[in-house]
Symmetry: C2
Subunit: 197 residues, 2 copies
């Protein structure tokens, strides 16, 4: 097997696994389900991934990078930090609910010994997803539009928390429809709350 076909094979397995985890969640999908849907043997799958957990970790990292790319592209069409953020939150609110089974699987059952490690991994994944939003908020602070928070805080996590609070109240995890005025309200509250007055 040369490097080229190795990469293609692995990439396709990740895509198949992502689709199945997204549809059914982590618990309900077996290694056999994934190899069967991809039309390969279990052995072929174990060539790339030692176990289901390791496979899931790569799926979620792959997914995080895709979401970051989507956010990046959405933001690149706007010209001010505030408009970039509105476009990115809109993209996020459209994309994330469609993938919620996958994202909730990040919180898959584990014993307490592994809980901290899993939380740390979860945090890293979320940081990768939110990098374009964090970067835009940082440039808003550099432009003097927002005040700087101490480095232990993540403005992107606070902003996304606010958006989640809005989405959850409206049950928008199900219907994937968020109104532009809702996004604008979230950004207005955040901007006034963190303005550099």
């Amino acid at each position: 097997m040369n490097t080229q076909s190795t990469r293609i094979g692995k990439h396709r397995l990740l895509e198949v696994a992502e689709k199945l985890f997204t549809q059914h969640g982590y618990q309900a999908v077996s290694i056999r389900d994934i190899s069967s849907a991809a039309g390969v043997t279990n052995a072929a799958l174990y060539y790339y991934f030692p176990n289901k957990d390791a496979l899931f970790d790569e799926v979620i990292e792959h997914h995080a990078d895709k979401l970051a790319l989507h956010l990046q592209e959405a933001g690149s069409k706007a010209d001010t930090p505030r408009k970039k953020l509105a476009a990115m939150l809109h993209e996020y609110a459209t994309y994330v609910p469609e993938h919620r089974s996958l994202l909730f699987s990040l919180r898959r059952k584990t014993d307490d010994a592994n809980r901290k490690q899993l939380d740390r991994h979860h945090r890293q994944i979320v940081n990768r997803m939110l990098a374009p939003i964090e970067k835009t908020l940082k440039s808003a602070a550099e432009l003097g539009e927002l005040r700087n928070l101490s480095s232990e805080y993540s403005p992107a996590s606070l902003l996304l928390g606010l958006l989640h609070g809005m989405l959850q109240h409206q049950n928008n995890w199900s219907n994937c429809q968020i109104k532009t005025e809702d996004i604008n309200l979230v950004i207005d509250i955040f901007w006034d709350g963190l303005s550099s007055k």
Copy 2:
């Protein structure tokens, strides 16, 4: 069985079930585990609850009312809306992480047909939990400290979203330690973001 002992019996079963669901999550706990831990027969359990789903629904409602009571009590010791909210958020940030397996079980696996119903039920439970916070925010708006939002929005959900964003970034779901200054930052952002200027 008279009404008194019926109530006590049911209440104890709910407490036992809540403890097991909190420790192990919804999926991992069976009706048999609960009846066994409570020292009753399966038949006794089925006398009160037609199935595990119905039992879980009562557990979570029972739990929501307990959390609301905790929040209410925490807030009652302070004298201004802002101080009441700080006390309630502190209580929430201490109480909720200890019960996260239970709360995450609200998002238990379901087919798409039941998803909307489950989301609606989830929303009702969250509204019951957050009622004391919603009420305090309403009185802050009546006092002119915060502006009124249109009735389709829930200020409490937005405020809690902000808190969740903070907690998640700090991995505070695990270590259950939130600093007073973190609570204050969340409230400052929210207050400035929604001030009635």
